[in-house]
Amino acid sequence: MEWDITFANAGSYQLWLDGVSILSGSGDTTGSANAFANVFVLQNPTVTWDDLYLFDATGTTNNAVLLTSPRIETSFPNGDGAVQFTIGPAVLGRSITLTVTNFSTGANTLYLRPFTPVRNCTLNSIGILGGSSSNASIQVRPIVYADSSGVPGTLMSAGSSITGLTAGAMHTLPLTTPQNLTAGTQYWLGWQNDTVGTFNFSTQDGSLQGRTATVTFGTSAPGTAPAMTAGIASASVWGNITNTNANFVEVNQNPPLGNSSYVYESVVGEEDLYIYPSLSTPPSNIYAVAVKANLAKSDAGAKTVSVRLKSNTTDSAGSAGTVAPGTSFAWLVSFYPTDPNGNVPWTLSALNAIQAGLRIES
């Protein structure tokens, strides 16, 4: 659906469906004395509305309806370009939940989920997100098992148990011996708990990747995982890792993980640029490119940044320019309606070759 509306007491309007004009006319298209729109509403409770583009009649590009049933494709970094930022905390898996479902366990439960790192890394601790209910007395022990033909096999490491889970809180359970993990190899991360844990854990998403078995909590984890029941809810459990030696893996999760996974820098002029996968289909026309960075500054001190897109040797801040971020993670967006390398229309080869990221400005 595309609308071309001139906001005026006597303004024209025209609507298209899939590029075909279905309604047009003129009339009072304002709701007040102001000849502009300040809100855009799509009202249909049963329809999911997705991407939106907005144009005005100014400028030399994108100044009219497109009428080509355009697509918007979002790409996340899949490699490092020219990187200068320092690697911060990193996560194997996901440290935030995509659902609001809680997870309960019985007494003496051993819970595991499979994870496959994309980079060689060191696993230092297991993270668990508390559910809707706190439990001050439950004991929880972190465990990691090697894979054996698709099921949990030999115990690689465990750690001291913690006592108590707080509702909605992230808990870090250190392993006694950090484990070096190999990219592309599957491992099983999880925990043991001693008593019933009603709503003490949260569910990460709608998948059913968890496995459970009843194992006496005792003083240590079993050296070999027992036969386990598959198809259990995916609890919010993850690995806290180091030594990935790659910046892009810190910033390519959607949604981003905030304080659990980021790169950081304070030196003015330093820049972190990533490479992105090629567009999935050859376009006939590229109307605009947006670069988005999810960022925060570490404290109340002064710090400004700019989103960067580097095309060939031209490094541009785009429409956003220099921005002072806040201390809470938020998206910063900059638009590039043309290739900054010569301010010419985008080509597929130029788009696929760009690097984009962030620069410290002051």
Binding site: V20, R71, E73, G357
Partner: protein, 67 residues
């Protein structure tokens, strides 16, 4: 010293795809000679094709591969 922290990065591209023809179905209908009748009425072959390039009404073309 205050530092800036980046937790996420993404590239979004809005673009049009070239016009293409989607073949949604092929039908051959043949009215055959009926031996009990005396005349062959006609023989028809119909090829049914979707109009090029336009998604069906009700589909939203901009939702593909986007978040």
């Amino acid at each position: 010293m205050t530092d800036a922290r980046v937790a996420g990065a993404a590239r979004e591209t809005i673009f049009a795809t070239p016009a293409s023809i989607s073949l949604a179905g092929v039908v051959i209908e043949t009215l055959v000679f009926d031996p009990t009748a005396t005349k062959l009425a006609t023989v028809v072959r119909e090829v049914l094709m979707e109009a090029p390039d336009l998604p069906a009404v009700g589909q939203t073309a901009v939702t593909v591969n986007s978040t």
